[in-house]
Amino acid sequence: MTATTTTPGSATSGAALPRRPRISTNKVIAGAVIVAMAGFAIWSLAQIDFSLYNFQRSMLSLAKTIRLMDPISFPSVPDLVYLISLTLGVVIAGTVVAAVISMPIAYLAAANTAPNRTSRVIGRAIGVITRAVPDVILAMAIGLMFTLGATWAGVLAIGFHSIGMISKLFADAIEQIDEGPRLAIRAAGGSKAQEFWSGVFPQVFPSWIATALHRFDINVRGSVILGFAGVGGLGYRMYIDFQQFPQGFGPALGIAIVIFLLCVATELVSSTIRVRLLGAQPTRRTLGDALMRQTRGRRKTTTAATLSTADLTVEKAMRRPWNSSRVSSTVWGWVGILVVIGGFAMSRLDPNQIMWKYVWSTIMSFWPPSTGAYDTQTFVTAIVQTLQMAFAAALLTFLVSLVFGSLAARNIAPNGWVRGAFRVFLVIFRGVPELVLAIVLIIITGLGPQAGVLALAFGGVGLLGKLIADSFEEVDAGPEQAVRATGAGRLQVFGSATLPQGLPSLLGNTLYLLDTNIRSATVLGIVGAGGIGFYLTVSAGLTKTHPVVSAIIGIIIAMVLVVEGIASYLRSVFK
């Protein structure tokens, strides 16, 4: 009873007390971490030789290559159709496999559906590990289980690697559902499985499809490099052409152009589906979404499925009318099924290509991890080089994106033309697959980290510039107007009102970029940019050196986890 009498008073006084501002030690530490990271990035950039001499040399080698190579040419039409169908088939089949496997993993990982704490840890861990293993390395390593020219390695590698992203985004979507309907189903006596399929799944279905489509886009881009692991399709043809130095560079560039167009086309299709059918907001993050935003006004509203009330009976209502929404969902359902079946058919998976006697020994050859014939020094140098590439590229991207992104933001660009022009720049940057870029740059600058850094930086500007532009456009316009009302100039408004408000998301997005850069830098090593990726390529092709592959993958996972840990710490401090 005494507790009751004190409750109202204490409740009001508790809410009224303002918190005293204090200098938190966390902010000091976080600040130091940022300074250290920026310092490492600057040092990395300085280490990578962008000297004038190097530049001249690159230009000369470019000129020489262009002079010696065959003219840019394309495969014959039947050949092209075959290559495209093979590439799309492998990507579709792999993405479908990943999307299906991701569902139970996301269920285990999402806080609101996870049966217990352990399952959450397991679910998240599977996500992190699958993301950290580059699909191309996996394809190289497991390629030994199949006959030459089989697509199994590609499908399985994409399927395995894509689980990481799809299950993570899907788990996030599950965590964001409205819990009410699920509670209602539990209250009606529904089991756990019924709760999920009736209360959770219908809410997350659109985001599941959208995530899979998004991953499909990424996988189409990534399929280029799978060719380097011997997976058939456009990438493999390009790899073969590149082997013929320098004459083959012409046909290889032709394939690169086809890949670029294919990327654009698949993005358009997947954006159309995401926006039109799933009701997702076009984000402009991809080329397709950008174009979809232009045509969105013409979207027709679905006619209501209401039945006519005139002498309606239960028996009459048993027959569901074929209204537009039912027709469209049925049609799209079948299209989806056909695409999946078609994808598997086009991927030309053949059980006879599996060499069963090598399957188990190949899997076991990865254990235990070991550094093999390399000494620690070699490894450390390689890791540092990979990190240098990632950090240097992130710094370049950050600087360019800050300018490009700002000028692409409605509230900063001096006029609509400037904004439009920079938006288009960013869209084009995003349109070029990084790997195609890297390969082209390697032709120009020769093997080495310069090409890797430039490729990563270019690709990053498309993404980070867009994220920066969006986050600047989302800031509260009030303070901007207030500062402008004091008579401040354009730059002053930017510095005093826009930038401070956009700073937390600027930091978050840059850290996200760094995270993806570390993974990408590894893969770039495979095409010749150096770093830890080089040793991965060298070791993946032989069963004997597979322990080195698992050791390197362990190192990559550790690096990514450290960066993710730092990122989430910084985000929590500067929220």
């Binding site: 409750t7 209250a187 009736s198």
Partner: protein, 286 residues
């Protein structure tokens, strides 16, 4: 109203619930007989929702016991608890329909405890259950909306769909947690009348939480007042005047300040709430 001598449908004995430091319910004792329509009256935060959630086994008591349809909920195994939940239907303030499913599919989810395994899509439900669901939709006057997405309906319509979903459970008990708090007055009327009608026709036992004294007075057979997680009023509704309830319950506060004032008055003036309630009930009846 038939009064039975058999065991009550709901028996709550010494129910206490703490959420960390907060005491949501304290030593609540309540029995509800078959066919009774009980209104739980109280301000927000008085423990009405928590009490209702205990009756459906969605919360477990910190202390005390909840017996529903002869089964003690805290002791039930998950499977038996799900079975019991199937016989106790619940409707919510925010309707809690699955927005992307059709109205018919939402009603059908009320039958999940009667089928084995998960269901996805209309075709996975047997025709007999679909027919039954449509009958319930007809009863709440929304048969023509069967194939609309649930989120295309107005709030009042959605709550009627939720009632149809509850009926789909063939329940013995109907729990309603502030069923009209998110609705406009007109829809509120429709929904409250519908619940009352259905309760009378099907002989359901109803426990409905409300915060508006006006609504409660004309509607329930019995009014149970809650304040700070304690029962402070338990009386038949007939012959009870609004003034009498107000005296115990306090005015309906709309702002925090008002709430605080009322709480202070009540704490200063009112003697032990639960002891006072029968006295007042007697007074009002005589």
């Amino acid at each position: 109203m038939k009064s039975t001598t058999t065991s009550p449908i709901i028996t709550i004995a010494g129910l206490t619930k703490d959420f960390g430091e907060t005491h949501a319910l304290r030593d609540v004792n309540l029995t509800v007989e078959k066919g009774e329509v009980v209104v739980l009256l109280g301000l927000s935060g008085s423990g009405k929702s928590t009490l209702l959630r205990h009756v459906d086994g969605l919360e477990l008591p910190t202390a005390g016991d909840v017996t529903v349809l002869g089964q003690s909920l805290p002791a039930l195994r998950p499977k038996a608890l799900r079975k019991l939940r199937g016989r106790v239907a619940m409707i919510f303030q925010q309707f809690e329909l699955v927005p992307s499913l059709t109205v018919l599919e939402n009603v059908l989810t009320g039958a999940l405890s009667r089928v084995k395994g998960p269901r996805l899509g209309l075709a996975t439900w047997p025709a007999s259950l679909r027919r039954e669901a449509l009958t319930h939709l007809e009863r709440v006057g929304l048969l023509h909306r069967a194939y609309n997405r649930a989120d295309q309906l107005s709030g009042g319509q959605q709550q009627r769909v939720a009632i149809a979903r509850a009926l789909m459970q063939n329940p013995d008990v109907l729990l309603a947690d502030e069923p009209v708090a998110s609705l406009d007055p007109e829809s509120s009327d429709v929904v409250m009348k519908l619940i009352r009608e259905i309760a009378a026709e099907d002989g359901l036992t109803v426990v409905c939480s409300l915060h508006q004294v006006d609504l409660a007075l004309g509607w329930g057979d019995r009014i149970v007042g809650l304040r700070h997680g304690e029962v402070v009023l338990d009386t038949p509704a007939s012959g009870l005047s609004k003034a009498a309830v107000m005296e115990i319950y306090g005015r309906v506060a709309t702002t925090t300040t008002e709430l605080t004032v009322i709480e202070r008055e009540l704490l200063a003036d009112a003697p032990r709430g639960r002891d006072a309630a029968p006295a007042l009930a007697d007074g009002a009846a005589s």
